[in-house]
């Protein structure tokens, strides 16, 4: 295969590619709003037809108790070749506030190199580059099938919490058997700093109620002589971190896969402007967190405990001199590779039980299951292969990032028991989930080029 052939094929297909994507973007597949359920189904149908037209031998719409996913399979010629699931989603975010859009969110507009419309980057555009890349790779190789079996799975409920996704994966576990999962739903560091994500943090959320007196007491008659649950809450939550900003739950860090020096060095090569980042962080004045780690390491690769809400007693205008009966707090833990949400919940429960002062009763409602972290080491076979494909497309060193947030990706890794490889060309500036979402068309084409090289790189690496 000649690089130039791939590039030439993609350049030749550009206009058709953009025109087709624009057609798909006109379908308002908003999964969070039941009024658009028909449009999400229409989007699935449109994609299925398109994938058939692109040559996928097998294309199916997979129903769920909610909205449908699309599954397309293109088997490798060699029955012993590795199989790779490619994950994306065809549903989109709501568009409110509509009056902040410069154009109709579902009438996509090309302005120079940009394509503006809901879903252009998240995630229709990023699924689309795979189809162009796959065809470019086939054309350049002159073969009828890719060097790995490709199993494209395009979810329809990602923007409404992926509520049926784990069940879908379990139901189709055998069909989806694979050696790696390529995720195309994240971002690169910057247009001229291509990068790959290697993991997402997990999450577990807990709530705690501290009860003191059975009713609010007059602080003149009782203040200073009975336990005040707000004092107890302040003391409890203040004790959740030590002076070095580390979480004090016993065993919290025990299972954490430590950051390796090489990954820290690669993080450090990212052109990170901390002052600019602090401005995006609601004009926060200083960086703050676990001692011994940089800001990027803290948000990507270190677990945290964050108080999300805290309340109790008199919170309205004016004064009310009471000893309140109750105090409440909501706390979430972001977890990293190696940590288990359920284990952290149990550690929190045990820690609260041990730290609550006499006369205060703690109640911790049963928490949800949380989200598991996911992570692929930078030197794992899949990541290294995808990095080579990206570097061939971009012609420069590809760096690494991680995601501080949490998503259904961990389910893919856990249920399909396969390593994750994040290949994406979205940008943080694409305004996903916001008005005027856009995608850079040249980056989609670079993504197509990387996808063209990806399958042969993975075929070698995973064999």
């Amino acid at each position: 295969m000649q690089v130039n052939d791939v590039v030439a094929y993609i350049q030749a297909g550009r206009d058709r590619f953009v025109a087709d994507l624009k057609e798909w973007l006109t379908i308002p597949s908003i999964s969070a709003d039941p009024a658009y359920a028909g449009d999400v189904r229409r989007s699935a149908g449109w994609l299925a037809d398109y994938l058939r037209a692109q040559g996928f031998p097998t294309v199916e719409v997979w129903e769920t108790p909610g909205l449908p996913a699309v599954y397309a399979e293109w088997p490798a010629e060699d029955p012993d070749a590795p199989a790779v699931v490619v994950y994306g989603h065809h549903d989109v975010q709501p568009v409110e506030p509509l009056d902040e859009w410069d154009t109709d969110p579902f009438e996509p507009v090309e302005t120079g190199d940009r394509l503006i419309g809901r879903g252009a980057s998240d995630d229709k555009g990023q699924i689309f580059f795979h189809t162009l890349g796959l065809r470019a790779g086939l054309a350049a190789s002159g073969r009828p099938a890719p060097p790995v079996t490709i199993k494209l799975l395009v979810e329809g409920e990602e923007e409404s919490g992926s509520v049926h996704f784990a069940e879908l994966l379990r139901d189709h576990r055998e069909r989806l058997a694979c050696d790696a999962v390529v995720i195309s739903d994240t971002t690169m560091w910057d247009a001229d700093v291509p990068s790959m994500c290697t993991g997402m943090r997990g999450l577990t959320e807990v709530e705690v109620t501290l009860r003191g007196p059975s009713r609010d007491l007059h602080s003149g008659s009782f203040g200073g002589a009975v336990p005040n649950p707000l004092h107890a809450m302040a003391e409890l939550l203040a004790a959740l971190h030590d002076a070095d900003g580390r979480v004090t739950l016993p065993g919290f860090y025990d299972d954490v896969v430590p950051l390796r020096d090489e990954e820290r060095e690669l993080f450090a090569r990212l052109p990170f402007d901390e002052d600019a980042w602090l401005r995006t962080a609601g004009d926060s004045r200083v960086a703050h967190g676990e001692k011994g780690y940089t800001t990027l390491e803290r948000i990507w690769a270190r677990p945290t405990a964050e108080i999300n809400g805290m309340w109790g007693g008199h919170t309205g205008p004016g004064g009310k001199t009471i000893v309140p009966g109750q105090a409440h707090a909501k706390i979430s833990f972001r977890l990293v590779a190696g940590q288990d949400p359920r284990k952290v919940q149990m550690a929190f429960e045990a820690w609260v039980a041990e730290h609550v002062p006499p006369g205060i009763e703690a109640e911790i409602p049963v928490a949800g299951g949380g989200v598991r972290p996911c992570f692929s080491p930078i030197d794992s076979a899949g990541v290294a292969a995808a990095r080579r494909a990206m570097e061939r497309a971009f012609g420069t060193q590809v760096l690494f990032t991680r995601e501080g947030g949490s998503g259904p990706e961990a389910d893919l890794a856990d249920i399909l028991e396969a390593p994750l490889v994040f290949v994406a060309v979205g940008l943080n500036g694409d305004r996903i989930h916001a008005p005027n979402e856009k995608v850079e068309i040249p980056l989609l084409l670079k993504g197509a080029e990387a996808a063209a090289y990806l399958w042969e790189e993975l075929a070698t690496a995973l064999r």
Copy 2:
């Protein structure tokens, strides 16, 4: 003066006394509800007429920008005799919830030794015993005027915050010049444990807002890397007390008049059932507070810091994984003799400024002036004299209490520059501010007896 004469006079006057009090109690002088403003005025007029009929040479209704007070003066024969202001109030609490009353709150009912109706104890009954006591004392002495000049001041806005009371005192400062102020608006320990209050705690209320990011941040993208104002609030408020339950504001205890051993010993003689008290404290399970002090000492004679309310971030149902932009808290300090509300506010402001972590901005709105504490030493001339009068009436040792709450009494002491003497016969079980308020008629008559002896005791003590 013969004790028997006083007792006989009071016994003879009992029925008339109760009948007159019942008449006054029919007037719904609820000062907090503007709909009853006319009734508060009618109550003032009724009292003025009554006091004239009782023989007071001077009776005036004193207007305020709100509701009127009644002033009555009975000069001593001797122009050099001391003058004593007697304070009470003729307005009453609202009566809601009305359906919890067994009888109409403004149709007073006698049941055995009890008189039931709004204001029976708080505070119409307690003003009333002074008139009977004064006439009994005059009758027994056979003289036309009391041994001290009596200046009865009956406020009409106590139950609605005494908003114009300090101004009224300042306006009439010369008329109200006195050597002591007798307060008849508190309670005794129990019907068979007569006691006198010697002070009330002061109060200052503060609010603090801690600001971090200018908006709520996604905890996946920013959590663990910027300061969280809820963490800062928990740490700040946890640091407000030390391990011994002492308030950590620098200088907080510097001006406190310490409890004297004698007063502690007298407190300790009160038959205090801590378990029963904890049940009244909303079934609190343990006593808790400043190390080295008993529960009664803590609520009566030690200053405290109490978090009355705390809030920030997501406080609704479900989870919201944010780093919130703000955290808020309301804190009140109860103050004891020697402490100045303004000084405590300033100490709090300075302490917050010093303790707020980098990247968090503290905002403390200007607080109100607070309420000053008031206190009369148990061996001060006025207290000792009143104690003798009480002991003569009750025939047993009179013990001491204090009030943990705060009231306008400090204004009387500060503006009139005179010591306070608390003489009252209400009980904690009188259900003041609640449905079915009642007073024990025998205690009102004991109050009248104590009042009959009070003036000669004070005449000697204050001369």
